[in-house]
């Protein structure tokens, strides 16, 4: 139940884009048409869903202070959290590579639509950001971490598809020349963010 709550909250309230600005670079660069942005959105959900639980397990059983206690009482005070940046990014880069290879081998059709985006995702801040937030929030068990991963992925995908749809329509409107392209995209995101604010406080009652 708590996991479902986290899932819903991370889509609407703690949206990756509108509340934390994570993954902004590819968000603005790829959101020119709905089809490609949907592809990137799905790729992000996919990679988050795999990397975040792996990082959660690493964090709980290896990196956190006292996490190595299962090795014996001597290790109960070891704190490896200063290694977390390097471990997380290595896991993300490795898994993205792996996912790319698996997708290419077994579902060539999906690979052709996601292909170019998969390697880019390794440096998408949303993926790394989710892992760092996971570390900060101290989820109780794997289910909650997975719920968070799915929720943030879906929230990110929703945001990019929404922006792409608006930008497609905006092609036909008369924007002041200096604002065209990037400038108006920023303002659109700001307005979408304000709209998303009305979700704050949303959650599933206990």
């Amino acid at each position: 139940m708590e996991a479902l709550n986290i899932f819903v909250k991370s889509i609407f309230v703690d949206n990756m884009i509108f509340a934390y600005f994570l993954g902004m670079c590819s968000y603005l660069a790829v959101s020119k048409n709905v089809k490609t942005s949907l592809g990137l959105g799905i790729a992000v959900i996919f990679v988050l869903f795999i990397t975040l639980p792996v990082n959660y397990l690493l964090e709980t059983y290896i990196l956190k202070e006292g996490a190595l206690a299962w090795l014996g009482p001597k290790f109960a005070t070891v704190d490896l959290s200063y290694l977390s940046f390097i471990i997380f990014i290595a896991v993300i880069a490795a898994i993205t590579q792996l996912v790319e290879m698996i997708v290419e081998k077994f579902t060539p059709a999906l690979y052709n639509s996601l292909g170019i985006f998969l390697p880019l995702i390794a440096v998408n801040c949303a993926i790394m950001g989710a892992s760092l937030f996971m570390q900060q929030r101290d989820f109780a068990h794997l289910g909650e971490a997975t719920g968070y991963a799915l929720g943030s992925g879906v929230g990110w995908a929703l945001a990019i598809v929404g922006l792409a749809a608006i930008r497609e329509k905006m092609e036909y409107s008369n924007v002041p020349t200096p604002l065209r392209g990037l400038g108006i995209a920023f303002i659109t995101v700001a307005l979408m963010g304000m709209a998303f604010m009305c979700f704050s406080g949303l959650g599933i009652p206990e």
């Binding site: 670079c25 940046f85 990037l182 700001a190």
Partner: protein, 210 residues
């Protein structure tokens, strides 16, 4: 300075400050630029941290550029950057703990800051260490000044203070002036960036799209 900064180096350094700015023109590193700018102090610390990390990772990658196999270059770059970020983050935790708490995950996110990967790929892989160092500094400063400008306006109008010191006089509040709470919230950061882009592009016609 004469010989130290040749014409080309000067261009490499000054370009990112204006016409080739990482945030408003190259669209790199926006995530952190928006998230840490609610107050001036974290914005300044973030700007300095990014400048240091970009400059040094540029130098390291530039020194290694002939030995890195092409197929694993992204991972090598990520590891170098992650190591530098870990060092900076530990230093901040030791000497400026309150700021490091305010910056929370965004210090860690410098690793995936697109400015780093962008500059490493586009410049350090193809240039000598000294030029890469200058390029890193230029892009770092270009990033930092945008952050400081946004944070200046957000803190001044949002909390009526600068660096945490109240600036707006008490009298004004007595006459009914109210801080604009919207400035503190995320969307205003985006609108301020849009304003900077607007001003910059109306002054530089060649940057305009279509």
């Amino acid at each position: 300075m004469g010989k130290l900064l040749s014409e080309k180096t000067k261009k490499v350094f000054l370009g990112p400050l204006n016409k080739n700015n990482p945030i408003t023109v190259q669209v790199l590193g926006i995530c952190s630029a928006l998230a840490v700018t609610a107050e001036l102090k974290p914005a300044l610390v973030m700007g300095i941290s990014v400048t240091i990390i970009v400059a040094f990772s540029n130098v390291i990658i530039s020194l290694l550029r002939n030995t890195i196999p092409n197929s694993i270059r992204i991972i090598v770059q990520l590891v170098v950057v992650a190591a530098l970020v870990t060092v900076v983050s530990e230093i901040l935790k030791a000497f400026a703990y309150d700021v490091s708490v305010q910056l929370s995950v965004y210090i860690g996110l410098i690793i995936t800051n697109c400015i780093l990967m962008g500059r490493l790929e586009a410049f350090a892989m193809a240039n000598k260490p000294w030029a890469s160092f200058i390029d890193g500094l230029g892009n770092g400063f270009g990033y930092a000044w945008i952050l400081v400008v946004i944070a200046f306006f957000r803190e001044l109008f949002g909390s009526g203070s600068l660096f945490g010191f109240p600036i707006i006089p008490e009298k004004l509040y007595e006459w009914g002036y109210i801080n604009n709470g919207l400035m503190i919230l995320p969307p205003m950061a985006l609108i301020l960036v849009a304003c900077i882009i607007w001003i910059q592009r109306s002054r530089n016609k060649e940057l305009q799209e279509k």
